[in-house]
């Protein structure tokens, strides 16, 4: 199967197939950057993997929480975006990202402690909109561009989760 893996801005194209030797069920073959890698891979848990390549042992973990999934190699993290053959195809078909109203979302779970703008306000880039507090730290959500505040969904005292829409900017 063909995959495209983006790690920290770098794209890796690879083809991964199970080796066709039935007596070696854990054997995989991967073509990456012009060379062929034969490896032995065993899943050691739902999100853990052991890979042995040329006698070198790699302990792997996967982490799916948050916006960007991460893969850990010996505890060192890599932010990874994986696309397979089908999603690459559909990606090509899709047009540019919709340039409509901008939804401003909370970057962390917490409590809204202050609302700094109201509906109808004209905002400049960098102006504060909402202050969210979590773990004794306050974080100001700022306007990323100039525009009119179309809708304010945040209310003081409200608990929010990461990704919740706080306001809509047009």
């Amino acid at each position: 199967m063909r995959y495209q893996v983006d790690i920290h801005g770098k794209t890796h194209q690879l083809v991964l197939e199970k080796a066709s030797a039935p007596q070696q069920p854990d054997r995989w073959v991967c073509r990456l950057g012009g060379h062929e890698i034969v490896m032995d891979a065993v899943q050691t848990g739902a999100d853990t993997l052991s890979i042995v390549i040329d006698g070198k042992s790699f302990e792997i973990r996967r982490e799916n929480a948050g916006e960007t999934p991460r893969v850990f190699v010996h505890g060192r993290q890599f932010q990874v975006t994986l696309q397979d053959a089908r999603s690459l195809k559909s990606r090509r078909r899709a047009g540019p990202i919709d340039a409509g109203p901008l939804r401003l979302t909370a970057s962390m779970p917490g409590k809204v402690v202050r609302v700094l703008a109201k509906e109808g306000d004209i905002l400049h880039a960098g102006m504060g909109i909402v202050v969210v507090e979590a773990m004794k730290m306050q974080n100001e959500l700022r306007s990323p561009k100039e525009g009119t505040l179309k809708k304010m969904l945040a209310r003081e005292g409200m608990n929010v989760n990461a990704g919740d829409v706080m306001a809509i900017l047009e």
Partner: protein
């Protein structure tokens, strides 16, 4: 000795005290808020009582409620941990009033050291060197400018009731004084309910070195060497070690004697810490005294071979110090990493811990307040655990910590573990050349990440996708959600088959 102790705290420090109680054959009592019913300290203690809703002001800071709980369950003493009520003189008095022993210093000593201006007055009397500046709050902008002229710019404005960098401003010249003074005063008022602000000469990029002291209630006081705490972010410590690479035997003895003098000047008892600022030429100045157990106490424990929480409990019970100053012989080197729930931009990252691998092995100590499956609440401090490495030498301690960091994994939330990998492999840190400006200069990239590891990561991502046909037909790795703790219902076999076919 006490038979039962209530721990007026939460998180890793509450677990630390529960462990000490258990080791001494004392029953431990945990308290918890609504958010902490399932917290580790509740699970580990012998008894646990609910004290209020999630906000700390209505639970862990509710003096009446905590004392009532202690009386009801028959606790003879209260250990306050650090933070919350640990440096609250009213709480110490309220304990005494209820016939409960406060495991900490006398209320008077807390009060004297709690106000930075009053502490400076005390230290002046005791002949302890402190950073040149005022020992009283500044009254007006004119006075502030006049004092700053005498001291020479840059100067530091500091809240008398301050801590944690709040109500603090660096002033470079006379022009900036008015706005800085106003900002520091209003911040101090908001944070501490007291707008008293004083002036100090600013020492640029000093080292932050502190001395652990320990006193019994019979007038005996010793010091337990220093801790180097220069690696800070916004005045919050990140990594601490003992001994300090910048302190030699003569300086240690000198600082230790002055710290003991400072403690005796306020009739101190129990464990405490005298913080100093040290400049590049080895001059040091009293900064403040922390009248409680410090977060970073384990490095001192490892190097001095003592258990500070045992000693806190024993001295609070009236025992004499079991050793003299000459018996304290620091040995080896210890380094502590404070593991915070925060992302790479230092934003808090609370949430469920979906997976957890804890390091172990020679020279490694982990003081943790979390477990796999638990949800880190939004309401409290982001400190999850402290990872401490000990070795015969600094080099060995660093090697052990690096190894332990590779063994360590916290899933579901983000932590600052990658930061410690960078620090511990940074040649400047390895050379011991750190000061309070260090983190700002630390390179952002992890030198230890190799290109081949990146390729392995790419292959691994593809392997996960290929090995788990149950991946639900999503584009990215992010939506598989097959972790053992949050496993979703398997996607229909039909869908799976169709999807596999379409990819051929």
């Amino acid at each position: 000795m006490f038979k039962k102790i209530l721990i007026a705290n939460r998180g890793e420090i509450a677990v630390r005290v529960v462990r000490a109680c258990s080791e001494l054959g004392i029953l431990s009592v945990a308290i918890y808020s609504d958010a902490d019913r399932a917290a580790l300290h509740v699970l580990k203690a012998d008894e646990a009582y609910h004290v209020g809703p999630t906000p700390a002001s209505e639970s862990y800071l509710d003096i009446e409620r905590i004392i009532a709980t202690a009386r009801q369950c028959g606790a003879e003493a209260i250990h306050p941990g650090y933070g919350f009520l640990s440096e609250n003189a009213d709480f110490a008095r309220a304990c005494a009033g209820a016939g409960i022993k406060f495991i900490g210093p006398p209320a008077n000593a807390i009060e004297l050291m709690g106000s930075k201006t009053r502490a400076r007055q005390q230290m002046e009397k005791a002949g302890v060197p402190f950073v040149p500046g005022t020992s009283r709050g500044v009254e007006s902008i004119d006075e502030a400018r006049e004092v700053a002229e005498q001291l020479g710019y840059p100067v530091m404005l500091k809240a008398a009731a301050g801590g944690g960098g709040k109500g603090m401003r660096l002033v470079e010249n006379a022009v900036g004084m008015a706005s800085s003074l106003e900002a520091a005063q209003s911040e101090a008022q908001r944070a501490f309910g007291n707008n008293e602000v004083y002036l100090e000469k600013a020492i640029t990029n000093p080292r932050h070195i502190e001395i652990q002291v320990l006193a019994d209630e019979h007038g005996n006081c010793v010091h337990l060497g220093e801790r180097e705490c220069s690696i800070q972010r916004r005045h919050q410590k990140v990594l601490e070690e003992s001994p300090s690479p910048a302190v030699n035997a003569a300086m240690r003895q000198n600082m230790g004697q002055i710290a003991v003098k400072a403690a005796i000047a306020v009739r101190y008892a129990n464990a405490g810490t005298i913080e100093f600022l040290a400049d590049a030429s080895g001059n040091f100045y009293f900064l403040e005294m922390n009248t409680r157990l410090q977060v970073e106490h384990p490095v001192t424990e490892l190097v001095c071979g003592v258990d500070l929480v045992h000693l806190q409990i024993r001295t609070a019970a009236g025992e004499r110090l079991p050793f003299l100053q000459k018996d304290i012989q620091p040995r080896g080197h210890a380094i502590e990493c404070r593991i915070y729930a925060e992302d790479e931009n230092h934003f808090p990252s609370p949430g469920q811990v979906t997976a957890l691998s804890e390091p172990a092995g020679p020279g490694i100590r982990l003081d943790s307040g979390i477990y796999g499956g638990w949800t880190v609440p939004v309401a409290y401090d982001p400190l999850l655990a402290k990872l401490i490495g000990y070795g015969e030498s600094r080099q060995q301690a660093i090697g052990r910590l690096r190894r332990a960091l590779d063994e360590c994994f916290v899933g579901g939330i983000k932590t600052n573990l990658p930061l410690f990998r960078r620090i511990l492999s940074d040649p400047v840190f390895v050379a011991g050349e750190t000061d309070t400006g260090y983190l700002g200069r630390l390179p952002q990239t992890d030198a230890a990440i190799s290109e081949s590891d990146e390729e392995v990561a790419a292959i691994a991502a593809a392997l996960f996708a290929s090995m788990q046909p149950r991946n639900n037909g999503q584009d990215t790795l992010g939506v598989g959600q097959t972790s053992c703790l949050s496993s979703q219902a398997a996607a229909s076999d039909w869908k799976r088959a169709a999807r596999t076919e379409s990819l051929r």
